[in-house]
């Protein structure tokens, strides 16, 4: 019986025992004249939980451990000379056994492997029978125990609600586990990377050319893992993007908040929000297809040589993507400035623009700066636009008309390929990911601090 079927059967059992438990409770309340402690439903839930949860735990545990256990048992049964092979050869043999089990039997010649595959399959069958038996026994035990416990004075509601609260708490800790998972996974692989390449070479080196020699005398095997060109490229494209997004976004927010009529605002704000909803692949395609060639032609007309993968094209489109970000964050903070400040300025004879420039914006400034920092963090983490529109070779330049590469592009290039997982080339991607994660984390924390610390408290 496959595990999915088993889980479905378990689910059906839970539902059936819910009704059985609820029935018993209803009968109890009718017969003895004692008032039931909780509603009958809770007694049903109690029984269903005791039937389903322990068995579910067993099935999940089994699913995690089964493959490894069976594989190690089969390895022990292999002939002597195979068992003592070094780890990677053994791994290849294990792969062959797994393939043989998965229907590629006719391609495998060695009798030892065919034998091992047969043993594997037998063990799989035993294990599934054993699993069904165990799960069934545990369910039955749970049912017996809980069914016995149903009495009029039994506090079923407390038990069930306690479990529900525990479940809710477990779900809320998933966020923590995600952060820990991200940190650990990126850290582990980065530490392995830093065992081959020194950290200061990585962080301060000027040459990014991630090749690794397969043989000692291979031509072109000298690699450089200096990430400075990547950092400069990321910085350049983000600077162009900010130069587009901040003025346009801020002025749009100011206009929508201060000058626009309610109808204009009702139309303009959602339209700008649409820019935020467009997937980044679409922006990347637009940049590669339309913007980059247009910029190149404009450059040729003006006598400049613009690369077809210029930082300007990618930065421009990224800026368009970030406009709604800056605009909506600034809008919130500008609206939070109380009307009394504006009225005071008007009373002194200031025009509307003077009020905005000299009173409202300085009051909303911490929030706006926080918003801009978050937008910068979004820009440096953006992947698809730069992968499709920016280049792949690491030039160290601040000229936006040339092609540069960014951290995120390199992460994608290094990992979307046929590389062996442990070579420093692919581990470099994790080191870059670590830098990216820490940088965005730092920007977010600073943005939060700036907003909290400098925000004026208006009544």
């Amino acid at each position: 019986m496959s595990k999915t079927t088993l889980l479905l059967v378990l689910l059906l059992l839970c539902m059936a025992t819910f009704f059985i438990g609820r029935n018993k409770a209803t009968l109890l309340s009718g017969n003895s004249g004692n008032k039931l402690n909780s509603l009958p439903d809770y007694y049903g839930y109690y029984v269903a939980l005791w039937v389903g949860l322990p068995a579910l735990g067993v099935v999940l545990l089994w699913a995690c451990l089964e493959t490894q256990l069976i594989t190690s048992l089969v390895i022990q049964g292999l002939p002597e000379e195979m068992r003592t092979l070094p780890a990677d050869h053994l791994g290849l043999i294990v792969n062959e056994i797994h393939n043989a089990v998965g229907n590629e039997r006719d391609r495998i010649a060695e009798p030892a492997i065919l034998e091992a595959a047969e043993r594997y399959e037998n063990l799989q069958i035993y294990s599934s029978y054993l699993l069904v038996l165990t799960a069934g026994l545990i369910s039955a035990a749970g049912f017996w125990r809980s069914y016995q416990g149903i009495e009029a004075s039994f506090r079923a509601r407390i038990q069930v609600e306690g479990f529900v609260t525990l479940l809710l708490m477990a779900c809320s800790t998933i966020a923590i586990f995600t952060t820990i998972g991200i940190l650990l996974s990126v850290l582990f692989e980065s530490i392995r990377f830093f065992q081959s390449v020194r950290p200061d070479d990585f962080l301060f080196g000027l040459r990014w050319s991630p090749q690794m020699a397969i043989r000692a005398d291979q031509v072109g095997s000298t690699g450089g893992f200096g990430a400075v060109p990547l950092f400069v490229g990321t910085f350049l494209i983000s600077a162009v993007a900010m130069a587009v997004a901040v003025p346009v976004g801020l002025m749009s927010a100011i206009y929508l908040a201060e000058y626009a009529s309610p109808e204009q605002r009702a139309i303009g704000k959602p339209l700008l929000e649409i820019l935020a909803g467009i997937p980044t692949v679409v922006y990347g395609f637009f940049a590669a297809l339309t913007v980059a060639p247009a910029l190149r032609e404009l450059g040729e007309m003006a006598g400049l040589s613009v690369s077809s993968e210029s930082a300007l094209a990618a930065g421009l489109v990224m800026g368009i993507m970030i406009i709604p970000f800056v605009s909506s964050l600034s809008d919130d903070f500008i609206n939070a400035v109380p009307q009394s400040l504006r009225d005071g300025a008007y009373a002194l004879g200031a025009t509307q623009s003077e009020t905005i420039i000299q009173v409202v914006i300085p009051a909303a400034l911490p929030g706006i700066v926080g918003g801009v920092l978050l937008a910068i963090s979004r820009a440096i983490g953006e992947t698809m636009i730069v992968v499709m529109a920016a280049g792949l070779s690491a030039h160290l330049t601040i000229n936006p008309l040339e092609s540069v590469t960014t951290v995120t592009t390199q992460i994608v290039t290094l990992l979307v390929g046929d590389q062996e997982f442990n070579s420093p080339k692919t581990l470099a991607a994790f080191a870059l990911g670590l830098v990216l994660f820490l940088a965005t984390l730092a920007l977010n924390i600073i943005a939060l601090r700036v907003v909290r610390k400098y925000r004026e408290q208006y009544e």
Binding site: V282, S353, S377, L441
Partner: protein, 429 residues
């Protein structure tokens, strides 16, 4: 004192003109920014529609094909196995050779044969297998045209460029022009765009595989992110004590919402694929990664929805004797549900358009089959768009834009649904 007052008011009056001009300029800057943003949106959409419109249409050649019995079924047994093995491509080529009898050279013949798509033979095969009585007749069929006809018909070929700069040779241009003048080239709705999987030939490629893959991935994301996110939000908002630990969790969630999506891809690669050894490229792993990414968004949106329910509802529930869990699940949650659903739909719309983390976990292979389950290797629509954008053939530009239009249509529907839900069910307390 009068003279001094007069001086001040004169100064003020003198500066008024400049200040009013500055005011008008400033206001104009604001309007120009909004117009610039909307203009960018307009340019983006029109360029995509312009290049993608043709992708929904397929160029077909209308040919008279002689279904020569000698080539298809020489024995005349009408056995399906023998018919299936026949070389239908040869029949198509023969009909073209018949139309242009002056083509003799082998190279020229090959160029002539290239006017028909590689998949056209399959169309013929299916027709004959369905109705073997067609053998021996002369069929008037519409078959998919090859890339050469496609590009010329859509006007993508520069006739003034020299032959070596073009993908279509001079002779091919002549033949195609003649076919067009004889009304043997037409446009039909490209149904195979929606019913076939990926292919190396642009005229045969479709988005069905990608759409099914996206569907499975989103299902997995919804099943994981929604319950867990709502449960976490309920706990954090209603049950948790307000101490440093929960503050830490809250800061954590806010940070996770702002982490770049590619880092989630790295997490998926290192943990799910390497450590847990889940099948690479499957919608299951893709859904897991996307649900981790959507979780902070769902939690934040649900929390604000729960916060907006007024305390009086909670107090009233306690007043009639409900326990805390009953109060939350029977009274507060139904009222907060519209807000939660709106936030969830917006988060899912964002996940639908994500491609960077899925690139990391391997959903970037060339997969022709339509995935049958959530464990088969597959790709998703945004990644399919990325793959096609990388292809060198000219025909793929149209397909990429058409696929983008399909994706945008889905996103508009989802966001529209979210806006509708918000308008319809939102209560102002």
């Amino acid at each position: 004192m009068n003279s001094m007052n007069k001086q001040t008011i004169d100064q003020v009056n003198a500066s008024l003109k400049k200040r009013r001009a500055a005011e008008r300029r400033f206001r104009w800057y604001g309007q120009a920014s909004i117009i610039a943003g909307l203009l960018a949106l307009l340019v983006l959409l029109t360029s995509i529609v312009h290049s993608g419109y043709g992708g929904f249409f397929q160029t077909v050649l209308i040919l008279d094909v002689k279904m020569d019995q000698g080539l298809i079924d020489p024995e005349g047994h009408r056995e399906a196995a023998i018919i299936a093995e026949a070389d239908f491509g040869l029949l198509l080529k023969q009909s073209l050779y018949d139309m242009f009898p002056d083509v003799r050279e082998r190279n020229d013949k090959r160029q002539l044969a290239a006017l028909v798509s590689n998949g056209a033979a399959q169309t013929l095969r299916k027709m004959v297998l369905k109705d073997p009585s067609l053998i021996g007749e002369i069929l008037h069929v519409e078959v998919a045209a090859g890339p050469a006809v496609d590009t010329v018909y859509h006007g993508d070929v520069d006739r003034h460029a020299s032959q070596t700069d073009r993908s279509v040779s001079d002779r091919q241009l002549q033949w195609i022009d003649r076919l067009v003048s004889e009304d043997k080239v037409a446009q039909r709705f490209n149904a195979s765009f929606f019913t076939s999987g990926d292919s190396r030939n642009p005229e045969q490629a479709g988005i069905l595989g990608a759409m099914v893959g996206s569907f499975f991935t989103i299902i997995v994301t919804v099943l994981l992110a929604l319950p867990v996110g709502i449960a976490a939000a309920i706990y954090l908002e209603e049950f948790s004590p307000r101490n440093r630990w929960t503050d830490f969790i809250e800061v954590n969630i806010n940070n996770l919402a702002a982490v770049p999506s590619i880092v989630y891809g790295l997490l998926g690669l290192a943990v799910f694929i390497n450590f847990f050894e889940m099948p690479r490229s499957s919608p299951t792993v893709g859904g897991l990664v996307l649900s981790l990414m959507t979780l902070p968004v769902v939690i934040i949106a649900s929390r604000s929805a729960l916060k907006s329910v007024p305390p009086s509802i909670r107090e009233a529930a306690f007043g009639i004797g409900a326990s805390k869990v009953q109060m939350v699940f029977h009274h507060v949650m139904p009222l907060a549900m519209p807000g939660m659903m709106t936030g969830a739909i917006i988060g899912l719309a964002r996940a639908l358009g994500e491609s960077a983390p899925l690139l990391m976990i391997g959903m970037v292979a060339f997969i022709v089959d339509v995935p049958g389950s959530a464990l088969d290797p597959s790709t998703v629509l945004p990644v399919q768009i990325y793959l096609w954008a990388d292809s060198p053939e000219r025909g793929f530009v149209r397909l990429t834009s058409a696929a983008i239009l399909v994706l945008l249509a889905f996103l508009i529907c989802m966001n529209g649904l979210a806006v509708y839900l918000r308008k319809r069910f939102e209560k102002r307390w």
